[in-house]
Symmetry: D2
Subunit: 224 residues, 4 copies
Amino acid sequence: MKKPVILINFKAYDTSFGKKGIDIAKKIEKISLEYSTEIIISVPPTEIYRISNEVSIPVYAEHVDANPLGAHTGSVTPEMVKDAGAEGTLINHSERRIRIDEIAEILSRARKLNLDTVVCVDRNELVKAIGTLEPTSILIEPPELIGSGISVSKARPEVITNAVEQVKEFPKVLLIAGAGITNGEDVSTALKLGAAGIGVASAVMKAKEPCKVVEEFVKSSLGN
Amino acid sequence: MKKPVILINFKAYDTSFGKKGIDIAKKIEKISLEYSTEIIISVPPTEIYRISNEVSIPVYAEHVDANPLGAHTGSVTPEMVKDAGAEGTLINHSERRIRIDEIAEILSRARKLNLDTVVCVDRNELVKAIGTLEPTSILIEPPELIGSGISVSKARPEVITNAVEQVKEFPKVLLIAGAGITNGEDVSTALKLGAAGIGVASAVMKAKEPCKVVEEFVKSSLGN
Amino acid sequence: MKKPVILINFKAYDTSFGKKGIDIAKKIEKISLEYSTEIIISVPPTEIYRISNEVSIPVYAEHVDANPLGAHTGSVTPEMVKDAGAEGTLINHSERRIRIDEIAEILSRARKLNLDTVVCVDRNELVKAIGTLEPTSILIEPPELIGSGISVSKARPEVITNAVEQVKEFPKVLLIAGAGITNGEDVSTALKLGAAGIGVASAVMKAKEPCKVVEEFVKSSLGN
Amino acid sequence: MKKPVILINFKAYDTSFGKKGIDIAKKIEKISLEYSTEIIISVPPTEIYRISNEVSIPVYAEHVDANPLGAHTGSVTPEMVKDAGAEGTLINHSERRIRIDEIAEILSRARKLNLDTVVCVDRNELVKAIGTLEPTSILIEPPELIGSGISVSKARPEVITNAVEQVKEFPKVLLIAGAGITNGEDVSTALKLGAAGIGVASAVMKAKEPCKVVEEFVKSSLGN
């Protein structure tokens, strides 16, 4: 992951898969190339292979299961997403929470696979707890602001500054901020507060013109 | 689904994904073509697109989530697997059990998508309960025999005959038997007991020569 | 369970346990005795012993786990709630959904223990499915109306009439209606539509004068 | 909690509830009084009120749910177990794992209620993570040894020494060791390795003479 991190989570919107998913991925790639900046997209498991074969930007999984390979019908393991083309994975998103032993297990497996990890937390008390497990990054998102259009940067800046402060104990771990990020100002504020990047979903996936939104985010992240 | 149903569940074995997954899918396709018989494979979500583009046999999902499209990070919906190339899906496998309201929800969505459905149950009391929801098929598998090498056909034939009897109330629903199916005799016994087909996993996925095993199953299913 | 069934679910309100829980249970008992009608209360597991020792009305559990007795830390089994004084249990409430194999397992164990069972469903398609498992009763509750103050009787009477129609196939099974039941008219309408009784929670547990509400329900259920 | 901690988890054995549960609790109390040493018992939610009214030793819950008070059918909250007589609670036992946000939520509520907390972890990597959340104690139990009769003290002493080392960073947090503890030597070894106490279940609950086992544990913990 390169700073400033811009992570766009496709979730399960109707624009997240199939032709629409590829279309939006390509638009994001175009902006990434134009501004020579890294933009990461996390996509449904069914789309990892397809999208990672269509675009050059990093594709992440939205979730992986902790169970080992074997007789586990319906599971999506770190090994599978890596093989399908993912360079990283979200872990413990507030819409797909898992147990702490599963987080530890996945981080250990991901490390061996050289898979980047973004562990999501919903509160400041968990930043250190997850920090001790040394993921690539921690994404802090107050759940009540997710999809709200009210950004963490404006509504709860102390969440970011506190998390940034705590994560300093773990110099290799990046702190990303998310929830309600809607416009360029939300992005630049988050970065000014010390975040290494931002996470976003609905503002892009539900936008009439996703390109414009992403471009605004990128410009703001680059200080333009 | 065509009778006799042969359903090979890839699960999450190390042979289930990537090149190995495609390799085994192609071997199964070859036997399917050679014997002009339908063989269905259910594969991890990451593999649906890839494998369904490589083989002509029906590819199913191993599991789908019931949540609607929208802000649901990490979910695999019926719409996604259909778009990726799946013709059907397993539901409620003993290794991925879901709630009954989720089963009803998925069946309703799958019907609209023209996606075949295989609802797994672990006991005879549930055959009628699931029958009332009219899936394409019901796969009965006593969990204690799954992966055991001791087949339901031999160890608990009454499970099959009782399920076959109960499912008669729902003429459109096929009854498939599974758990511990290891050799051709297990297959032919299951069919003689009235099952419309068989489900299998470890006997194929962990075999040194999967082709031989699948060929034996197919021959037995065709009465050779 | 005796018709008309009046089932008051304590849930986890701050009035549901401790002294407040006993207080409200006693008030309900008083009305039950005054009108010589059965009123069932379902209470948290910590309260079953205490409340059932303080009142003579039937006390039910709100939920039981399906696992057998043994090394299962934190579970509440049918055997435990029976021993603690429960005469029945809710199963699969929309706030505590379980899998269908768990429902079947619990029903089987409850039958042996002579424990009444109220299986909750959220939609009409599930009435027959659960009916085949022969619980003592089925409580149908459209989840969107639970706690809304808009009653199923008024907003969606067809949910009740359809469920009543379907449950006729299972003559021993009682059909109870719930969700948003707020006043006496909601109760009498539900019964007129054919329900064997009603389920209620917030209208009583959050009431300033629970007695008045319960009394109104009882009067309406008795046709006064 | 007082050192050396002896924590006996009742789980859901047939000896854990009703008259048998009270009987075993009283036997444990007797030994506790005889040796003037604290012995903690964790019991099913249905038994907290009953057992805590019968014995003077500390009674803990085996699990609590993280949801707030309100419309949450079937839940057991910290407030309920406290009111019923519990002085503490197990959290995240390997037989009842929860999410890390739930652990944080429960710890915060338990602190306000003055309820002791024992957070269980299955591996050394999680000691620091949980330590940052400052529970009263951390119980480390390699799951493969639970109920095995092969003690962590003998089979994996490095698990204990490593955990003891890590927990030093959190001076208020006690480190308890568990899994397979069967005899007095297992207890004294665990304490010599630096554990503040031990956790045990099957060795007592499935014993023909629980008294003897508990007495042996207590003697060993006191260095006799």
